[in-house]
Symmetry: C2
Subunit: 357 residues, 2 copies
Amino acid sequence: MARGARRSSGLLDARSQAILLAVIEEYVTRAIPVGSQTLVERYLLGVSSATVRNVLAELEAEGYLGHPHTSAGRVPTDAGYRFYVEALVGEHALPPVDQLMIRHQFGQVEFATDQWFRLAATTLSSVTHAAGLATAAKPRAARIRHLDLVGIGDRMASLIVVLNEGSVKQGLLTIDPGTTADELAEAAQRLNRSCLGLTAADFAERLRWFEEAPIDDPVFAFVRRAGDRALRILREFDATTVEQLFSDGLLHVMAEPEFKASEKLRRVFEALENRQYLGELIEDVTRGGVTRVYIGRENRPAEMADVSLILAPYGRPGAAVGVVGVLGPTRLRYPQAIGSVRFVSRLMNDLVDHLYA
Amino acid sequence: MARGARRSSGLLDARSQAILLAVIEEYVTRAIPVGSQTLVERYLLGVSSATVRNVLAELEAEGYLGHPHTSAGRVPTDAGYRFYVEALVGEHALPPVDQLMIRHQFGQVEFATDQWFRLAATTLSSVTHAAGLATAAKPRAARIRHLDLVGIGDRMASLIVVLNEGSVKQGLLTIDPGTTADELAEAAQRLNRSCLGLTAADFAERLRWFEEAPIDDPVFAFVRRAGDRALRILREFDATTVEQLFSDGLLHVMAEPEFKASEKLRRVFEALENRQYLGELIEDVTRGGVTRVYIGRENRPAEMADVSLILAPYGRPGAAVGVVGVLGPTRLRYPQAIGSVRFVSRLMNDLVDHLYA
DNA sequence: GCTGGCACTCCACCAAGGAGAGTGCTAGCG
DNA sequence: CGCTAGCACTCTCCTTGGTGGAGTGCCAGC
């Protein structure tokens, strides 16, 4: 029997696909289980509701649709969404007007690196009506581009570390009262000469070499101390998987009917807060170098079973990489969301490229 | 009639106060309206439930208690909490063990200014089980302490601006390809010489003075451009009321029974997101210089009618000030929360003081 | 002025029942 | 042989009505 053969192969004929598509789009917009009647009325399928019911039953057997209870309409399963994303729709480009608006906004912060990531999160959130996520671009191993020492008050100095990808870190350092600005500058210069372009590992080596130098020079002792502090900053930076995560619009998700009046979303937030899983995903995505979609239970943590994530990498694989994306209910406008995420990731790519051009 | 006189004066005798206290503490811990029976059973008041009922009726007439419906127990009103905070309990100091733990945590980030604020928010959140808030210390008018220019790639330079209170801002700048590190350093030095300690207004003046200098010197033109960029950074900094707001533990609030399954909290978040009202409060608190408690409807925006805020200033009024605090349901453990907030604000004070010692 | 007693009120909870939506199945049609 | 019309069935949702219980307000008596 042809039908049996098709079922086991997992392929769907055109009509089944059309109906699956209709179910998903209907469910995504209305958030209520969809029945055969509705489909016939709204999607002009040219067949009767009974026929549609037969097809729906098949789609359910294949695992693409589910049933909240016996006499309810159909709801897409994670597998249904997966098929939808991969075979049925792919990606929708952002409307040109949105593209223009977003480009404009990014244009305004072109020279303020620290705002890029925040803006990426905000933009994605407002365009997709889901939560927007963005991590700062982070190199696998930071290199020092520049060091500076600035006196703050009488017994404190601020150690400023500029990393190769352009981000700036800062730490405090105690100094002897009476240390002059010139002495600080001198110390900074010495450090700069000896540590430019070094990673934490190399820098540690270099400092060990310092260690063997004579101790009696007070400036030298200070240089060593500042070096230690810089090394610590560097190591802390390397150690964190997700340096900074910006998120915006978690409220949007909160407003979705499936999360109204429910404990679920709180769990999701909690899972997000500890960064563990997100860190892994980001690792995944940056390593893979392509946009990834994680639907519902495809997320390992149980708390994330009701949300989907779309993540895209940006940056230069050799130098520094980050991730942008959205988080929303599994009932997500995937084509639009994927398009938006990829658009923003390309924009971020361009911005980061400028830094290395 | 003495009772009538007392009622109009708004003063309460010892027993009424004891009962009001009992109602509030009971309600704060159990989150269910409290009846006369419960009070007699749990608080050993030495009188019968009927007497308690009479007192409760008086307290309600005075406006300290409310009634969800005719046959329900009593619930404190905002005025009730207000009286409780001002006349009945005041502030509870944090348990020494918590103090020690918090001091320890702050000790670990003593030299990483950018982590102070985040830690303050996190700490307050975990100690009070409400949302913790903290703004970075911000001077009324920023002054430049130090400028630096660092080449990034071939046609970009990072402009680093260290402000007087120690925070570091950063912006990008295009440069002519082939500009050497020495030229950048030279430009930075020139800027430093002429703008040290200036506010945005003074700096603008100085730059105007630059304007009139001969244009043909290419380094000079660049210095001018970098100056403009620095000025913009300075002005942006001055313009924002709340430079950075760290919050943590909004989840705690979400878990409270009054917000479970309700739209209310989402509104609160939204009201928080636009920073308008919070900015005003912070202005209030820093100007007043003392810890303030805003209970329920005392908050102007209607969305905030169900939450209370406790905010305390820290920093040096002349130099830089910030705010720490908590946000929770009106049903809050005020004494503990106030104590915690003030403790953390004192800690932050000490930290900031180090910068100016 | 306090207390015990009592009638009253109102919510929370549960069960019953009807409307509605949607299904699965079957017989019949082209 | 696939599609369709019809129909019985199922399950949710909503409304309705009834009950128990918690808590109040008031009154008479100590």
